[in-house]
């Protein structure tokens, strides 16, 4: 019997040796590779580090060049039968990247909601130190959200992000596009007020990888974005736009803008809202362009830039070269393939036509993500002055915008440190001639003036800001682009007026989608598109 007791005891000891396991079990629950720290600055940095803003392969290749860039002809596309058909999976990804992290963007909506959740439960002193992050994040969120509205129209916004706020899936309704714009415009005014008196902190300066903690720049960013949005609604709600824009332009001290302070040869680095690439960035846009949108576009180069002898041509394009029997000869001039070239012509003639500039766009490791530039702001000012102020002021702003655009593109070109030949800024007389005595010169007739403002702004946006270019093209109808409609798939013979909602959204957010389903066609217009 004693033996049994000993043996049973042995067994108990063996079993007991594992009884401390419950603690081990609990400790092994969390992934050692992940963090559970909830840091507002960390979330803010991640929100800024957005690959839908930065100059990234995926965004250019799958979104900018194949959707807005194609529909606005800021990027070249092959004349295939499905050229105007929206890619569902690529537009789904763009959509997802606004709402959720873990894709190719930063999920600004989710990141903002996370910051909000932490902020709302913080102590008063913590709140005081983190308010600057919240205000800056709001501006960033609005900038991206407004693009979503421009692309789709009504979008979930106010109720979006329930997983973060309540840890459960509550599908949000679609907010009305017009109401959203109104809200964005109001929120940006609040941001202006906040930044007018805010002081930066060391922590903010570190984590703000967009503007390195400059309160003044955040204020200008908020106001310039507000100007952009107000102008966007100016055809559908002119009175609001006019009142608010003039109020801003008439009080520049209260509403400082990203306008370069009137300097033509300004410093984009110091002035513009640009997202610098990470210092260890190794990827360029070479493949993004090579895989389909490498060539110059007809209207931009042949119809606008060449006739004006545009000084930006050498930093926009390379001439390309023809190889015959092993001998490579550079083309004598910059020219683009006609938009109505057949695919066969495109394939046999391409070498004779210009391509996207290698130093500026193609192989530029230092190419920043472009958010807002002085040139754009001055084009907007020119439009406001032309419509509601005086032509002289409009001309001043327009001329400045042209000159700043030249400076801007030479700046981008010269950021290239890879050893590719960069261009030196043309002599003043060349730029003067372009501004004063070319087809780009501010025209005499009012209608032509607005057309020039719109067209030159479209040139300035170029491929990297195709989304803005497409929105403004739809709002203004300029430039007057031509599209091939023959030989396209049934139902896709013209470019769309908006993107249709991605399939996943329609499917998973069915009930809320049903409220907007009637508007969900590719030819429905966004509310600001009234012409």
């Amino acid at each position: 019997m004693k033996k049994y007791i000993i043996k049973a005891g042995l067994f108990v000891v063996l079993a007991a040796s594992f009884s401390s396991c419950k603690k081990d079990i609990d400790e092994r629950y969390l992934d050692p590779e992940k963090s559970t720290t909830k840091s507002i600055p960390g979330f803010f940095t991640a929100m800024l580090n957005n690959d839908r803003v930065a100059a990234k392969y995926w965004n250019v290749r799958t979104f900018l060049s194949v959707m807005p860039g194609t529909y606005a002809q800021t990027s070249y596309f092959a004349n295939s039968n499905g050229a105007y058909q929206q890619s569902d999976s690529y537009s789904q990804q763009y959509w997802d990247d606004f709402y959720s992290p873990g894709g190719n963007g930063s999920g600004p909506m989710a990141q903002y909601r996370t910051m909000e959740t932490v902020y709302n439960t913080a102590t008063e002193s913590e709140k005081a130190s983190k308010a600057i992050f919240m205000n800056a994040a709001k501006v960033v969120l609005i900038e991206q959200a407004a693009k979503m509205v421009d692309l789709w129209g009504d979008i979930p916004y106010s109720e979006a992000g329930s997983l973060i706020t309540s840890s459960s899936i509550v599908l949000p309704k679609y907010d009305d596009q017009k109401a959203l714009y109104t809200q964005f415009i109001a929120d940006l005014k609040t941001a202006n007020t906040y930044f007018a008196t805010a002081t930066t902190t060391a922590e903010f300066s570190k984590y703000d990888i967009l503007l390195s903690g400059s309160v003044s720049k955040w204020q200008r960013y908020a106001n310039s974005l507000r100007l952009r949005l107000l102008m966007r609604i100016s055809n559908s709600d002119e009175s609001t736009a006019r009142t608010e824009i003039l109020a801003m332009l008439n009080a520049p001290a209260t509403y400082p803008l990203v306008d370069g302070a009137g300097a033509a040869s300004y410093s984009p680095k110091a002035t513009d809202i640009l997202l610098s690439p990470l210092t260890n960035n190794t990827s360029t846009l070479i493949d993004a362009f090579r895989e389909g949108s490498w060539y110059a576009t007809d209207f931009m180069l042949n119809k606008v830039m060449n006739p004006a002898n545009d000084p930006r041509i050498p930093v926009y394009y390379d001439k390309n070269s023809v190889t015959t029997n092993g001998v490579t000869v550079q083309n004598p001039t910059y020219k683009a393939m006609p938009y109505d070239f057949t695919a066969a012509q495109q394939e046999s003639e391409f070498a004779k036509y210009a391509v996207v500039d290698s130093a500026t766009l193609f192989q530029n490791l230092n190419l920043p993500g472009i958010v807002i530039t002085a040139s754009e702001v001055n084009f907007l000012k020119a439009e406001a002055q032309e419509r509601w102020g005086n032509t002289a002021a409009a001309k001043t702003a327009y001329d400045l915008a042209l000159r700043q655009s030249v400076s801007f593109y030479y700046y981008l070109n010269n950021l290239n440190t890879s050893g590719i030949k960069t261009e030196t800024m043309p002599a003043a007389d060349v730029i003067d001639a372009f501004v004063n005595t070319s087809t780009a010169t501010y025209p005499a007739t009012p209608a032509a003036r607005l057309a020039s403002i719109y067209t030159q702004k479209w040139v300035h946006y170029g491929i990297m800001q195709s989304t803005e270019a497409w929105s403004e093209y739809r709002r203004t109808g300029y430039p007057q682009l031509l599209f091939v409609t023959a030989g396209k798939l049934s139902g896709f013979d013209v470019p769309p007026n908006r993107l249709i909602y991605p399939a996943g959204e329609k499917n998973y957010n069915r009930n809320n989608y049903s409220a907007v389903a009637a508007k969900d066609t590719r030819l429905t217009k966004i509310f600001w598109d009234v012409n």
Binding site: Y4, K7, F11, C21, K22, I25, D26, R28, Y29, L30, D31, E33, K34, S35, T36, G42, F43, T45, A46, N49, S80, N81, D96, F98, Y99, S100, P101, G102, G103, G107, Q111, L163, I164, I169, L171, P172, S205, Y207, D208, I209, L278, N280, T282, T284, T323, T328, T342, A343, A344, E347, S358, Q363, N416, G487, L489, S490, A503, G504, N507, A517
Partner: protein, 1088 residues
């Protein structure tokens, strides 16, 4: 104590007396089966413990009285009882049995039970069934051989994962694979891949077809395999047993004179099989309008002055509505002049002829204190995808050491070394994408030659004029050239070294008390080197990057397992026996993966080293750890050896669940009643048993799935290093509970006509509560997925297994058949969830869903739009309009009936074995097949192309054409009958295009019924007279064929088994996998 002595002496004296009273004689004999002598057969005198076993020549010798009865038995054979009746030589022929009722079955925790006493259904598969057709892994050999067990082998051959599904769908999200237990130790299948599993089936993720851990278990080392199906059978394994358990016992040493040596060799060739039905009349081109708009002639020729005909084919077209291929001499994209002719085999020629060869040698010995068996196996494999090869060396040592009369130890060690080169790809991006479509005129030999330049660089397209040897025209199938580049030039080598072992100590502590403890491990060191060659000369490099890359990965996967079990058994009176056991089981799992890679290309050409990285070397590590342990107990009662009752209990703790939910309890109970022993049965009924059981098992998520945590990245910014934090696209859940499966099972086993016919019928019904699901949702809620307890599903099913000796005698025919029907249904879904989408295709025009109250796996599609009268609506272009706002049911992806039919026919030295298996009632979704139709590649797109094929005649711009399609329906705007005639090309290109405006229901959803001749073996046993001269006991040669042909199939353009992926729904989805392979060969088996 004294009493005991007296008793023993009494027994001894009595025995001596009986020996004197009944004189014994020595009886000798040989035991054989249909193929030859059988070593290791037990020969016992009935009612005593006196016995022996046959030696390696099948001979035995035993002392017995004339009135004794000899019981001859062996696992896998029907036992025989032979009265001695004065004979001195008794030769016995044993018949094989797949389901012998007196067999001992290995159940949960390695406990051996008589099958008779079980209260639940198990399926046992013999070593012969697993190895006869020369399958390279045991799971592929299970096709059709066990009722309710559905096998899906990923196409791609011996290095591709095999999925096993037992009794329908038990989990919507996780662990749909059974638990594998080898010699008592849980082994790794593919837990290192986490929730994602080994293979995905989507277009974007890793496109290599991966393997899983069970491929490492050598079929020729398996002694027996038991499939534990129901919850009661598996309850002792708790949260790992939700999808059933496969218990494998490896071969042990055999008794015999000296060493026993077995040698087996299999060799076979593999060929791509079951390819789509292509048309061979029309070459590349679109409809007339598109051709003209794209710069070609109406017919689809492109002007080319340097081509003999003045035209060249439209190489860029993905569709095949171009000119008829009639041998015209034209200029090709590589600059050569070729004839424009159909290439009927170009698709088949993407693949190559592969082979498999397996050599296995095993030696075994049994002595008084030591039994051992050592086996070594070499597998060489070349897949049908170009570039893919594999070599596997397996070693297995299985030994039993008697440490003392009361203590023995089993020590089993397996070592597997696998090298895999250029693992096959899923071909969705190649053959299922317009960028990989090649025309019916394309010459595959040319493609295989031109994917690289003469100097070994990657091909250059027409617009890369500065690179070497650019093509002269724009071609379509660059994805195919990329595939060849990856498989034939690049080198992706994987090496895996795996050691799994188990050590068990059995200790007879005292009378009625036994103690067993076991320690096991499973360790894998996996590494890979991926060498991607420079794509063009360094001179062509852009300013900031190069091409080529080198990636190296190191993985360490370790499982440490331990259990201990103390058992007490005894009798209560004459009629009752009982046993009670209590124990502990625990394990930890560790997974580590470290990857380092060059960034932005290689600085020096084709020098594969991290030091040759153009940018800063990239590195990434993942670490995963899991711990589980449980206390368990079981009790067994039996009454008069015909009524059996068992109860089990398990209290488990698992680290993968949130702390407040990480412990739970699993009970089970089962009972068996052998009514044929309790009551007198009619003569024809030899055996009858009823079973009933109930049990609970669970399922916990994989490691870290439910964590709410943030990914930290250190960004190198203009402000220096800054930490950024993001929540991911999958959101965690700190309230997650484990899934719990409650299952009841009833069964009947019966044997008739002196055991010639046997049947085993089971009915089961289960509910799996708190289903864990990564619920996909719209990203607008802040993530694309959240892990939730989403609801309750359940399955009901019937399984029937039959075996019969149809003919006995010289010409013998044994047959085994099984059939299983299963329905899995969705009972409840969490509040607010009305439908779960597992898979959506073509902008949601088709989806696989779970809806409350419906069968799991239903397919819903957008139908064609109809007006109020039910007429089809036709748009102004003359094409169907899809109804994007409604869904109709279009079938279910899960088969209604699966089963198999295996036969062994033997005549003298010849034997023919074949297995047929079937799957009926399922549907499959295949978008790539729709694209092939839309691109005019298949014969199904010949309709309407000319008058003979039903094309409507019409006149356009003064020309008459015969390729019109006039769809029946009403015009969308006018409501009048459609009068718009479209060209056949327009019809196919638009109707079967990708996306939501195409007719997915017709183009991509197919009935998937099939009956397949899975494997067949024709073998011949060399006469002993000849083989004995070679000192060989048994020598058998066989012709072997696997995956032979379909007796019946509904899908003509897609292999019924094309599906790939680990999710339960992936069996119903084809995203363009790779061709299945058919194998023929021969095998040789010998023992010395």
């Amino acid at each position: 104590m004294k009493k005991l002595y007296l008793k023993s002496i009494g027994v001894l004296l009595f025995s001596l007396l009986t020996m004197i009273a009944y004189a014994q004689t020595n009886i000798t004999g040989t035991v054989r089966d249909a193929t030859g002598v059988l070593p290791g057969v037990n020969v016992k005198i009935k009612g005593t413990s006196v016995g022996t076993t046959t030696n390696k020549d099948g001979n035995f010798s035993i002392a017995a009285k004339s009135s004794d009865v000899l019981v001859i038995s062996m696992l896998g054979y029907s036992p025989k009882e032979i009265p001695v009746s004065g004979q001195t030589t008794i030769n016995v022929n044993l018949d094989e049995s797949s389901n012998n009722l007196n067999e001992v079955v290995v159940t949960s925790l390695g406990i051996k039970r008589e099958q008779k006493s079980l209260g639940y259904s198990v399926a046992t598969v013999t070593s012969k069934q697993l190895t006869e057709a020369g399958n390279t892994n045991f799971a592929s050999a299970l096709y059709g051989k066990a009722a309710g067990v559905k096998i899906t082998t990923a196409p791609g051959g011996a290095n591709s994962a095999v999925n096993v599904q037992i009794r329908g769908i038990n989990s919507l999200n996780y662990s749909q694979q059974p638990l594998y237990v080898v010699d008592g130790v849980m082994i790794r299948n593919d837990a290192q891949n986490g929730a994602a599993g080994a293979n995905n089936n989507n277009y974007w993720d890793d496109q290599r077809i991966r393997g899983n851990g069970i491929l490492d278990i050598n079929p020729s080392d398996i002694e027996s395999l038991t499939v534990l199906k129901g919850a009661s059978a598996t309850a002792l394994y708790g949260s790992d047993a939700n999808s059933g358990v496969v218990v494998i016992t490896t071969k042990k040493g055999l008794k015999g004179k000296g060493l026993g040596i077995d040698f087996n060799y299999n060799v076979g060739i593999e060929k791509a099989a079951f390819l789509p039905d292509f048309q061979n009349i029309y070459g590349p081109g679109y409809d007339r309008a598109t051709n003209v708009a794209n710069g070609a002639t109406e017919e689809g020729w492109i002007k080319e002055a340097t081509s003999p005909t003045g035209f060249r084919p439209y190489f860029r077209a993905y569709a095949n509505f171009g000119p008829k291929m009639e041998g015209q001499q034209v200029k090709w994209w590589d600059g050569s002049i070729r004839s424009y002719s159909p290439q009927p085999d170009n698709y088949a020629k993407v693949y190559e002829t592969g082979y498999n060869s397996t050599a296995n040698v095993a030696i075994s010995k049994q002595t008084d204190n030591l039994d051992y068996r050592f086996s070594a196996t070499r597998l060489d494999y070349k897949g049908t995808q170009p570039g893919n090869t594999m070599q596997k060396n397996s070693f297995n040592l299985n030994s039993t050491v008697k440490l003392s009369p009361k203590v023995s130890a089993d020590i089993i060690v397996s070592y597997v070394n696998t090298k895999t080169q250029n693992r096959p790809y899923q071909l969705g991006q190649v053959l299922g994408s317009f960028s990989g479509f090649f025309s019916r005129a394309e010459d595959m030999d040319l493609m295989k030659q031109k994917f690289q330049t003469s100097e070994g660089y990657k091909y250059s397209t027409y617009d890369q004029t500065a690179r070497p040897e650019p093509f002269i025209y724009n071609i379509r199938a660059t994805n195919l050239l990329d595939f060849f580049w990856n498989q034939l030039r690049n080198q992706y080598d994987e090496t895996e070294n795996r050691l799994y072992s188990s050590a068990t100590i059995n200790w007879a502590v005292a009378n009625h008390v036994k103690f067993r403890t076991r320690v096991g491990n499973d360790y894998t060191g996996a590494n890979s080197q991926n060498r991607q060659f420079n794509e063009y000369p360094l001179a062509n490099n852009p300013a900031t990057s190069s091409t080529g890359s080198y990636t190296t990965t190191q993985g360490q996967y370790a499982i440490l397992y331990g259990d201990a079990l103390l058992t007490y058994d005894n009798k209560i009176g004459e009629d009752f026996t009982f046993s009670a056991s209590g124990g502990f089981q625990g394990r930890t799992e560790h997974y580590k993966d470290l990857t380092a890679n060059t960034v932005s290309g290689l600085v020096s050409e084709n020098f594969f080293s991290l030091t040759n990285s153009y940018g800063v070397v990239g590195a990434k590590e993942t670490r995963k750890e899991l711990a589980k342990y449980a206390y368990l107990g079981l009790v067994n009662f039996s009454y008069k050896n015909f009524l059996f009752l068992e109860g089990t209990a398990r209290q488990e703790y698992a680290s993968t669940l949130p702390n407040q939910n990480n412990s739970y309890f699993y009970p089970s109970v089962n009972s068996g009643f052998v009514f044929s022993d309790a009551f007198k049965m009619p003569e024809f009924m030899s055996y009858g048993k009823l079973r009933a059981s109930y049990g609970i098992v669970g399922n916990a998520p994989p490691m870290y799935e439910s964590n709410i945590s943030y990914t930290q990245t250190s960004l190198q910014t203009v402000n220096g290093s800054v930490a950024s934090l993001t929540s991911g696209s999958n959101y965690g859940n700190n309230n997650l509970k484990p899934e719990m499966k409650h299952e009841a099972e009833f069964g009947l086993e019966a044997k008739f006509l002196n055991n010639r016919i046997g049947l085993d019928l089971s009915y089961y019904t289960n509910r799996v509560k708190d289903q864990i699901l990564g619920l996909s949702t719209s990203s607008v809620v802040g993530a694309k997925q959240q892990l939730v307890n989403v609801g309750e599903i359940g399955s009901k099913g019937l399984e029937l297994a039959l075996n019969a000796s149809i003919l006995t005698g010289t010409f013998r025919w044994d047959a085994r058949a099984n059939v299983a029907a299963n329905r899995s249904k969705v009972y409840t879904l969490a509040g607010g969830v009305d439908e779960i989408n597992f898979y959506t295709a073509e902008q949601n025009t088709a989806k696989i869903v779970a809806r409350r109250g419906e069968n799991l796996g239903n397919i819903y599609v957008n139908p064609r739009l109809r007006n109020a009268n039910g007429d089809l609506v036709i748009n102004d272009d003359g094409l169907y309009v899809m109804d994007k706002s409604s869904y109709v049911k279009a079938g279910n992806i899960l088969p209604k009936l699966v089963g198999g039919f295996s036969n062994t026919l033997s005549y003298k030295s010849f034997a023919l074995d074949f297995t047929v298996d079937w799957s009926l009632g399922a549907k499959m979704i295949s978008p790539p097949t729709k694209f092939l139709t839309g691109a005019g590649m298949l014969t199904n797109s010949l309709q309407y192309r000319d008058a003979a094929n039903g094309g409507v005649t019409y006149t356009e711009n003064g020309k008459t054409y015969n390729d019109g399609v006039l769809l029946t329906g009403v015009n969308q705007t006018t409501g009048l009958p459609n009068t718009k005639i479209v060209t056949a090309a327009d019809y196919y290109i638009n109707t079967y295009n990708w996306g939501e405006d195409s007719w997915t229901e017709d183009g991509a959803i197919f009935k998937n019924n099939y009956v397949k001749m899975r494997e067949a073996t024709l073998s011949y046993k060399i006469p002993a007279a000849f083989s004995s001269k070679l000192h060989i006991n048994n020598l058998r040669v066989s012709l072997v064929g696997r995956n032979l042909f379909y007796l019946y199939r509904t899908m003509k353009n897609l292999d019924p088994e094309a599906a790939l992926g680990n999710k339960w729904w992936s069996q119903g989805v084809d995203v363009g996998s790779t061709a299945a392979s058919r194998s023929f060969g021969f095998s040789l088996n010998a023992n010395f």
